[in-house]
């Protein structure tokens, strides 16, 4: 039983940030044993030098692995795990991770702790801190002997700790024969940026459920305009159809890193925070002083947005 495995994520030949976040943390944890990155895909060998922070990389390349599909990826990784018995397997809590982590737990019969915000090594055990109940509650789970699976929230750890160029030992493994797959990849659809690419904007004013009604959105839009920025939103607003998908910030929207991010009526669910935590200056306005958004904001105003925004907008505008 050896080693800590990080299941890498790549999309169309580019390694995702979460891979480096996990890699960096594993290195810091120094659990003992080799740090191995498991990389599946097709024609992605040139990505391996980016994984210098790992001790070794298990590379499985095959046409059937060119695009991620849940079943094949899981079965390949499970076969590898059964053969090599890693102590701890780390997966990111992304869509792929939400397929793989429970899937591997079920197939391999090993315990899983999900939604990890933090991992610590303590006396030969791994303590995984999960963020549950909409981010309001934290739970410490013990992985006995540091054995098991953890799925880690994107953005829980810093990526730069895992980014080290180098030449890890690369072991190329043949893809096992798995018979006819029951899930077939068809195509990848990228969102239309529509009117605006919010990832390129410097100033974003974001609206959440606290706005209560579509009719009130202009209040926030006015502030965005007055600042010369763009209007963005959290998922519920886009789901309601009040703003287009191109404006969505969060786990299943865009990840943005603007100079200024003003969160209006957003409570700060982990999925949203994932998309904006790296903004340079975050100001949050929410009537609930316990809202998780205040954990990631630099400045917080526990007030009703309807009392603050119109006045703020008026004062920012040049005098008419």
């Amino acid at each position: 039983m050896s080693g800590v495995w990080v299941i890498a994520e790549q999309l169309e030949g580019k390694l995702s940030e979460v891979t480096f976040e996990l890699l960096g943390r594993v290195r810091e944890l120094a659990l003992g044993g080799r740090v191995v990155v498991v990389l599946l895909g097709h024609g992605i060998k040139e990505l391996t030098p980016e994984l210098g922070a790992a001790d070794s990389v298990i590379l499985v390349e095959d046409e059937t692995l060119a695009n991620y599909t849940p079943e094949i990826y899981r079965r390949v990784i499970a076969e590898l795990a059964r053969a090599r018995n890693p102590r701890l397997i780390m997966v990111a809590n992304t869509s792929m991770g939400m397929d793989l982590a429970p899937g591997l737990s079920g197939e391999l019969g090993i315990p899983l702790v999900a939604y990890c915000k933090d991992l610590r090594a303590e006396d030969g055990q791994v303590v995984a801190v999960s963020q549950l109940y909409g981010g309001k509650i934290l739970v410490e789970s013990i992985l006995e002997g540091g054995k098991g699976l953890v799925s880690v929230l994107a953005g829980a750890f810093r990526a730069d700790a895992g980014k080290k160029a180098g030449t890890p030992q690369v072991e190329t493994v043949a893809c096992p024969a798995l018979g006819t797959p029951r899930i077939c990849f068809k195509s990848l659809l990228r969102p239309q940026t529509g009117d605006l690419d919010i990832t390129k904007e410097n100033i974003l004013v974001s609206v959440g459920r606290g706005i209560q009604s579509q009719d009130n959105i202009p209040i926030v839009e006015e502030l965005a305009k007055a600042l010369g920025g763009a209007l963005t939103a959290s998922r519920p607003i886009v789901d309601n159809g009040w703003l287009p998908k191109s404006r969505q910030v969060g786990k299943s929207g865009m990840t943005v890193k603007p100079k200024l991010y003003i969160a209006v009526g957003i409570s700060g669910a982990p999925e949203h925070i994932e998309g904006m935590r790296d903004a340079e200056l975050i100001i949050a306005i929410n009537p609930d002083v316990g809202a998780p958004i205040f954990d990631v904001a630099h400045y917080g105003v526990a007030a009703d947005l309807f009392d603050i925004l119109p006045v703020l907008t008026e004062k920012i505008r040049p005098p008419q």
């Binding site: 006995e144 299943s252 954990d295 990631v296 040049p318």
Partner: protein, 255 residues
């Protein structure tokens, strides 16, 4: 076509969550349970498929306080059958246990498609969907928005970050973790639910014994620091606005 929708309740996050004195779980008296939001979307997606393809929809849940109301509401919305799995669940049911218990029951009934909410707020040990798929030995996809039946397969959309979507074809039977339905969940008038409670029937099935599932111990449960890292701006609304303006000016955001 037979669609099965496993559902469960989770604590309502509107209420203040209180940690029990032993520090490892929530105080049950402080909790108010409500149907997991994503399971609601799964029910809606199932009903939309039923409307389009004349499928039959069965909703299934493990017995817990308040589960009857959930099941009768689902019946009032239009599902054909509701099953309550009874047994001793006083210690709580995690995803692994639920997958084992439900898997046994679902195995014994026709199931072409199993739709369940992609995740729930209390999924410490991971999401139900993939675990259930493992128990049923069928394929599974998470974070699905968009389910289209094509013969004996479904074409689905899996959502990734940044709004990227992958289209895949999945052989049936399969389990899908629903992120969102094609339409928001339909409204069911209170009178219809009341009617269902009086006239409809919830089937009860006893859970069969299941082997122990791999699990981890909870050492501690606690609340995140409130207020956290933000510097809170106090005062009247006018004072708060002035302070915000000062910060923005200082950082060069105002012309």
């Amino acid at each position: 076509m037979e669609i099965v929708v496993p559902v469960k309740q989770v604590p309502d996050l509107v209420e203040e969550l209180v940690i029990a004195p032993d520090g490892t779980r929530l105080d049950p008296d402080s909790i108010k349970l409500k149907l997991n939001e994503f399971d609601e979307y799964a029910i809606e997606e199932a009903l939309l498929l039923k409307d389009a393809h004349r499928a039959k929809v069965t909703v299934i849940a493990i017995d817990a306080e308040g589960v009857d109301e959930i099941l009768f509401t689902a019946l009032a919305k239009g599902t054909d059958r509701a099953i309550k799995v009874t047994g001793d669940f006083s210690d709580g049911v995690d995803s692994h246990t639920a997958a084992a218990v439900l898997g046994e029951v679902i195995k014994g009934m026709p199931h072409d498609l199993v739709l369940t909410g992609v995740q729930a707020a209390d999924d410490r040990d991971g999401q139900l969907g993939p675990l259930l798929a493992c128990a049923l030995k069928v394929p599974h996809v998470s974070v699905v928005t968009g389910v289209h039946l094509v013969g004996n397969r479904v074409t689905i959309n899996q959502e990734y970050a940044g709004g990227v979507v992958a289209e895949m074809e999945v052989d049936l039977p399969a389990v899908l973790g629903i992120q969102a339905a094609e339409k928001p969940p339909r409204y069911v008038p209170v009178s219809k639910v009341r009617q269902a409670t009086k006239t409809a029937k919830v089937d009860e099935v006893a859970a069969s014994a299941v082997p122990a599932v791999p699990s981890t111990l909870v050492r501690r449960m606690f609340k995140g620091e409130s207020g956290g890292k933000a510097e809170m701006i106090e005062g009247t609304a006018e004072e708060q606005v002035e302070r915000i303006l000062a910060i923005l000016r200082e950082r060069g955001f105002l012309k």
